[in-house]
Assembly symmetry: C2
Homo-oligomer: 153 residues x 2
């Protein structure tokens, strides 16, 4: 089973199960924020390239796509029931009250990242930039719907 399949399974399991959080809520909140931070740091430069705001750098794209591909599978378990609060968070309560929609958004991101990884393997710059754009849209879509502008307690 390839890593991207494992992570997709992990997303589905995490979001369809009603499992409670593994650790303390504050640790889960910190962990999902850490994953998103590492993910954002990897994705940011690629988004710049896709929008022609930075020169295309194949090595960065290969390295950072691998990071994004790994990170995208990691945060979802840490949105389990019981992690709604416990530390400052930007997670909208809709993550829990509209769980099915959140799950769908997370799966869209996962699929877009898988498609990006495939495009990167293909090596075609235009296709890769389009795939980066598609990932960015799924990030933004989920953030628009489920991420608050400011931290809440």
């Amino acid at each position: 089973m390839k890593l991207q399949q494992i992570t997709l399974v992990a997303v589905v399991l995490a979001l369809t199960s009603s499992a409670f959080a593994e650790g303390k809520p504050e640790d889960e909140i910190r962990y999902r924020q850490s994953v998103m931070n590492v993910n954002g740091r990897a994705f940011g430069p690629m988004a710049q390239m896709a929008q022609d705001k930075a020169p295309y750098n194949k090595d960065v794209v290969v390295k950072n796509t691998a990071i994004v591909e790994m990170m995208i599978g990691l945060p979802w378990n840490s949105f389990a029931a019981g992690t709604e609060k416990g530390a400052p968070t930007k997670a909208d309560m809709k993550v829990w009250s509209e769980g099915a929609k959140f799950k769908e958004s997370a799966e869209k991101s996962q699929k877009a990242v898988t498609a990006l990884a495939t495009a990167v393997k293909g090596g075609d710059e235009k296709a890769i930039k389009a795939a980066i754009g598609d990932v960015g849209k799924t990030c933004k879509g989920c953030h628009d719907d489920f991420r608050l502008k400011e931290f809440r307690n």
Copy 2:
């Protein structure tokens, strides 16, 4: 060039260069903390297994080693000059005043992680547990020398 070679090169470049931080100090501090958090969450269960405090789970070891292997290359650029302060941090000022020793510690961790990845590919549980233990020692060594017990500003 394989990912582990790339990350080793990245460590060496990051720690031998006198490059200043890419981003704002607070962003660099947050990023290196995020990487360490993701790294710790992946390594923790393996450390438990290596000490026979948790049952050995090959799938977790494979998945988490891949995460650790990726994370170990990421934080070092974010300890560049200019990131000594700017947000609460546990980084001892010795990171900067004893840069050569810090570099050596970071490289030890990198090498131990590379050896763990090799052991995981080999599949021998005893060798894998020993390699996990070796990684843990390098983590602890660097934390003992360069990580404060409490956050400082």
